[in-house]
Symmetry: C2
Subunit: 154 residues, 2 copies
Amino acid sequence: MDPMAELLLYMADRAQHIREVVTPRLESGQLVLCDRYYDATLVYQGYARGIDIEIIQSLHRMILEDLKPHITILLDLEPQIGLDRAWKEIDSGTRTGRETRFEKEALRFHEKVRAGYLTLAQHEPHRFHVVNASQSERQVRESIISILDAKIIA
Amino acid sequence: MDPMAELLLYMADRAQHIREVVTPRLESGQLVLCDRYYDATLVYQGYARGIDIEIIQSLHRMILEDLKPHITILLDLEPQIGLDRAWKEIDSGTRTGRETRFEKEALRFHEKVRAGYLTLAQHEPHRFHVVNASQSERQVRESIISILDAKIIA
């Protein structure tokens, strides 16, 4: 697929998701939790696929209407360990989605993805919270809870 | 559907179409004929759906890489006559596509579409050639041939 076509499909999906799901819930006072949002687009289509970051940011300005997350949790992990975990889920059939387009990319691609995320985290240290995802599930969960406790309950 | 999502889907389709179909043929010296191109997006999503023309133009700059048609033929017709013709085709099953999203829009929508196209034609009189589509099929065909004769053979 053409990288710009892929980017525009993600943006179409995001525009519809914001309009249909996110905005109505925020307006009714609910808390919205997203698994991936525009940081993922900057990283996968920008840092990793090589599309100009300026183009992606200007697309985001068109669709987001200043809708930025208050808290972003980055689960950080060596790409090889992440891929091993992903393929284990895929092979055992425990993963719900059937899409493996990104898992099939070379390790170099996933290293660019990780470096991209860490760059974003450095640029916005107040929004980003990096959690070491090589820990056990329980430890990862506890790290996340303590971040949310400090940010939301405080 | 969210109008921005619809716009972005058209843009994704266009980016893929340019990369896969149009550019390779132009590079091999062939002549490319498109039924609708970016003028349609400016008119349907911009003039008719109300998305900022600037947004659409900046998306086009991202994907088009200066790829503009040399000749654009606008088949101009009273919207009501055009709709009557379209529904006759749809009802009799002679139309290939099954999409009737635009045909179901109110007459006012189609009037905006027509006015949008005529505005574009006024802005670029060297590229646009307006053909009166209320003529018979034979007359319309002859009008188009004489435009192409003058532009291509000359």
